[in-house]
């Protein structure tokens, strides 16, 4: 066990990475924080999960401040779908008492691997298009809003500095997205991580939003979902101050870097990084489900 100051510095550095990845992809950063703390630094798992919940809130608030100002976040979509995620978070607490954890991890991994294929084919298609036309692909096919999305006025717009153009996009399949968001809430309450992946998939794949708007809106939403569980973890004493402090500070710094990266990267590059991290999460979850490693 290293000296406490060294330990705090290692946690701080790992958390900067978590903040960059989390703010770029709309995830909480738990995918980095939990294994870094529990596998490499041998910190008890419940304290690692407590710190991970703090990292979710720090990533979300830190990056959403910028994304909301720069309009990457679709506030109306985010706030509407928060009904589904917060309800899911409450349901999750009860489902945990009925279903065995391992089953959930395996289901989670299977769903991610299944969603990986369309992501990869989209990246390949966009890269080919780039090679042919030599114009930077937007990484997105824009669609018109359907009836429900129109009645809720969910369509959005943002300027993408990387593609040098303004996107005006519609939204479709609100009930489908609502359903996946409910599942995202359940998973984040049950497993401590993973809410963000499903939120991005719900908006990008199911509702047809641009990838950058999806990760930025997911970022905005995960803070609210996590705040519910964070209060519970905090009062239970699972948020250790000396572990959570460097996590919070590192993640805030990392999210500052990540938000600047997102505006510079092309949509298809964001999708590629997202697909890679998705595969890593799937493997991590499958290992947990089959009881290998922490």
């Amino acid at each position: 066990m290293p000296h406490i100051v060294v330990l705090v510095i290692i946690i701080l550095l790992a958390s900067v990475v978590a903040g960059v990845v989390g703010s770029l992809l709309g995830l909480g950063g738990g995918v980095v924080v939990v294994p870094a703390l529990s596998l490499f630094l041998h910190i008890p798992i419940q304290l690692a999960i407590g710190a991970s919940i703090i990292s979710v809130i720090a990533t979300s608030s830190g990056s959403a401040a910028t994304y909301v100002r720069d309009r990457l976040t679709n506030l109306r979509v985010g706030m509407f779908l928060e009904i589904a995620t917060t309800l899911g978070a409450i349901s999750g607490a009860y489902i945990a008492t009925v279903v065995h954890g391992n089953v959930l991890f395996i289901v989670f991994a299977a769903v991610l691997l299944y969603s990986l294929y369309p992501q990869i084919t989209r990246v390949i298609r966009e890269r080919r298009q780039f090679a042919k036309t030599q114009t930077r692909p937007p990484g997105d096919t824009l669609i018109a809003s359907d009836r429900i999305a129109t009645s809720l006025a969910l369509g959005g717009t943002f300027y993408d500095p990387a593609a040098k153009r303004q996107f005006i996009y519609g939204v479709r399949n609100v009930p489908g997205g609502f359903g996946i968001m409910y599942l995202a809430g359940i998973f984040s309450a049950l497993l401590g991580i993973g809410g963000g992946v499903f939120k991005v998939l719900a908006m990008d794949t199911v509702m047809g939003m641009p990838i950058k708007a999806s990760t930025a809106t997911s970022n905005f939403m995960i803070g609210a979902t996590a705040a519910a569980s964070a209060g519970i973890y905090f009062l239970r004493g699972d948020v250790n101050p000396v572990i959570a402090a460097p996590v919070a500070l590192g993640v805030i710094g990392g999210s500052y870097i990540g938000t600047r990266l997102l505006s510079r990267l092309a949509g298809s590059s964001v999708r590629l990084v997202f697909a890679v991290v998705m595969a890593l999460i799937a493997v991590q979850m499958a290992f947990k489900g089959f009881g290998i490693g922490g």
Partner: protein, 139 residues
């Protein structure tokens, strides 16, 4: 882009009008989040520095085994005694409250904009969130 022009859904102009109306909301929400992050980050940093000044030779085991009080009242009491640990916990509490304040402030802003449907939607979210806090305490 073409799909937007021809679609029977929201037109380009409607989307631009909706998002233009949302500008004030975006600036308010962004400011609340930025203040929350800077304030909690500053408090946590101060607490961490004080903690190191107060616990020179501490090992991780000492820290994970020391029973802290996580009751907000007790934490605030200890903050006034200059406890680094308590100041970190105060900062973490402020961080957890940031997304909750963001929701509360957006209810008010939607009301100012007379966007009653989103006043209802955001109020439902806040109520669900408060319910889950209460359920957590009870369980």
């Amino acid at each position: 882009m073409d799909a937007i022009k021809q679609g029977q859904g929201e037109t380009k102009e409607e989307i631009l009008a909706t998002t233009a109306k949302l500008r004030r909301m975006e600036l308010v929400v962004s400011a609340v989040l930025r203040i929350g992050v800077l304030l909690s980050g500053g408090v946590i940093l101060l607490g961490l520095v004080l903690f190191f000044a107060q616990h020179h030779g501490a090992a991780l085991d000492d820290i994970t085994k020391v029973p802290f009080s996580y009751q907000p009242g007790t934490i605030i009491g200890q903050v006034f005694h200059g406890s680094g640990t308590a100041i970190i916990l105060l900062g973490l509490m402020l961080l957890i409250l940031t997304p909750v304040s963001r929701i509360a402030v957006s209810i008010v802003t939607f009301a100012v904009e007379h966007d009653w449907r989103y006043v209802v939607i955001t109020t439902i979210v806040l109520l669900i969130l408060l319910t889950s806090f209460a359920l957590g305490k009870a369980g």
